[in-house]
C-alpha cells in the first residue's frame, strides 16, 4: 500500500502528535506514505465563502497526486471529505470541470479523474485490517475506558465515502480501539459534531456544542476520548481548559488520536507518539502502560 500523505493545514501547525503517531503506525503496518511538498489547502475552509475556489484547490491537489500516480491518504476528516466531495462533483459537472481545467492550466496541470482518496483510519480498518494490526501489538490496554468520536466528515456525506461505515451506526473506530484491549464507553450524542466549523463565526455557540459532548463523556465515565480529526481535537483538547473556565466545571478528559492509542499498543514510547504534545495531560492516565 502506497499513498501520498495529505497533511492539510491544521496538522503540520497544530497536531504534530497526530502526524508523528500516524507515521509510526503506518510504518509498522506496511502503509508507505510519500510526502509531496506541493499540496495546498484542501479547500474545506474556503467552501463556506467560495465554493468555486474550494473546488479549484481540491482539484489542484488531486490532479497533482494523479500526475504522480499516487493515491491520497489524509489524516484530517475535513480534508478527506473536501477532496472526495470535489472529485464527486467534478465527475458529474462537465461545465465546472472545464472551468477548473482552464484555471489548472496556469500551473501546468489538468484534472483527468481522481486518484483514490482515503482517510487513514479507513485505510487501517479496510485495507490493513484487524489481523495485521493486531500482529504488531505488544501491550494490552486493558483497564482504559475509551469513548470514540467519529466527527462529521469522516463518514458524511455518505454518498462520497462509498458507505464503508454507517454514519447512523458506525463501528470502524470502536472496532479498532477494542483490538487494544481497552473498554469502549458508549455515551449519548456519540455522533454529534464538535462545533469546530462555527468557531470563526460564533465562538460561544461553537463551544456550547463542544461542551455538550464533554458533559456526556464525564457522565458516562470515559477516561479518554479517541478521535481522528485535528480540528475536532482543537475543540475537545485545545479548548477544553477554556470551556472549563467559562462554565466553572472540570473535565480533565485526555483526548487521544486513534493512532496514538494503536501506537501505544504497538509498544511505541510516549515521545514517539507525541503524547507529550496533547494539551490535556495524559501522563497520569497512561502511566500504567509505559
Amino acid at each position: 500500500m502506497k499513498y501520498a500523505l495529505f497533511l492539510g493545514c491544521t496538522i503540520p501547525a497544530r497536531a504534530r502528535n497526530y502526524e508523528l503517531s500516524a507515521r509510526r503506525v503506518a510504518e509498522k503496518t506496511g502503509v508507505e506514505l510519500v510526502d509531496p511538498e506541493d499540496f495546498i489547502c484542501c479547500g474545506f475552509p474556503t467552501k463556506a465563502g467560495d465554493m468555486d475556489a474550494s473546488l479549484l484547490m481540491a482539484a489542484y491537489n488531486l490532479a497533482l497526486a494523479r500526475k504522480r500516480n499516487l493515491d491520497v491518504c489524509a489524516l484530517c476528516s475535513s480534508c478527506t471529505s473536501a477532496l472526495s466531495e470535489a472529485a464527486h462533483h467534478l465527475s458529474e459537472n462537465e461545465e465546472d470541470l472545464a472551468t477548473v481545467n482552464e484555471r489548472l492550466s496556469a500551473v501546468g496541470l489538468q484534472y483527468e479523474g481522481s486518484p483514490k482518496i482515503r482517510h487513514f483510519a479507513r485505510v487501517l480498518f479496510e485495507e490493513v485490517g484487524v489481523e495485521e494490526i493486531q500482529k504488531h501489538f505488544e501491550k494490552d490496554l486493558n483497564g482504559l475506558n475509551i469513548a470514540t468520536h467519529y466527527g462529521c466528515h469522516y463518514l458524511k456525506p455518505s454518498e462520497i465515502h462509498d458507505g464503508f461505515d454507517d454514519p447512523e451506526n458506525p463501528k470502524s473506530l470502536e472496532t479498532l480501539v477494542a483490538l487494544t484491549g481497552a473498554t469502549i464507553i458508549d455515551y449519548p450524542g456519540k455522533k454529534t459534531c464538535c462545533g469546530g466549523p462555527v468557531l470563526p463565526v460564533d465562538e460561544k455557540t461553537a463551544m456550547r456544542v463542544t461542551k455538550g459532548k464533554l458533559d456526556n463523556l464525564k457522565t458516562a465515565g470515559a477516561d479518554a476520548l479517541c478521535l481522528v480529526c485535528p480540528f475536532c481535537s482543537v475543540m475537545y483538547d485545545g479548548n477544553q481548559k477554556s470551556i472549563e473556565g467559562e462554565y466553572e466545571t472540570e473535565y480533565k478528559i485526555p483526548v487521544l488520536y486513534l493512532t496514538q492509542i494503536l501506537g501505544m499498543a504497538m509498544g511505541f514510547d510516549r515521545k514517539a507518539l507525541g503524547l507529550n504534545m496533547n494539551v490535556v495531560k495524559t501522563k497520569d492516565l497512561l502511566k500504567p502502560y509505559f
Binding site: R23, Y60, C152, K156, G195, P200, V209
Partner: protein, 158 residues
Amino acid sequence: MGAVDLDQCDSDFAKELAQQPEAEKISACFGCRTCIAGCPMSAVNDTFNPARIIRMALYGMKEEILESPFIWLCTSCYTCQERCPQGVRITDFMTLLKNMAVKEGHEPSGIKAQMSLTKGQGRIYPLDDFDNKKRKKAGLPPLPTTCDVIRDLFPDQI
C-alpha cells in the same frame, strides 16, 4: 421575527434558487423538522433553524436570509442532509446561501480572514521557520514555508 410581508419578498428568489443543484429540491420540504431534531447547532442556539430557512427561501425572503447571522451557524455536519426524508440537500443549500451572502458583501470577518489565508497563502495556518524547527525537533520532515502555485491559481487575490 415579526409577521412576513409577502409584498416585501423577492418572488424571483425561489426561481433563482431552483436553478442551483444545491437548492433544486427545497420545494419538496414538507416541514417534518427531522433536520432540526438532529441539528447540533439548533440544540444550543435556536436562532438556527434549517426548516425555517428553507421556508423563508421559498417565500422569497432573500435579504433577510443573506443578511442574517444565522446562516453562518450551520456547521456543515451533514446530519440533516443524511436524514432528510425528501432528499433535500440541506447542508449544501446552507453552503450555497453562505456563498450568495458573501457575493452580496455580507461575509463575517472570520470567514473573510480564512479565505484570504487560503486563497492568498495556500494554507489556513501558514508555516514559518519556527514551525519547521519544531517539526525537526519532533523528528518530522520540513515543509515549504512559501506557496508559489497559489498566486497562479488565484491571480486576482494579490
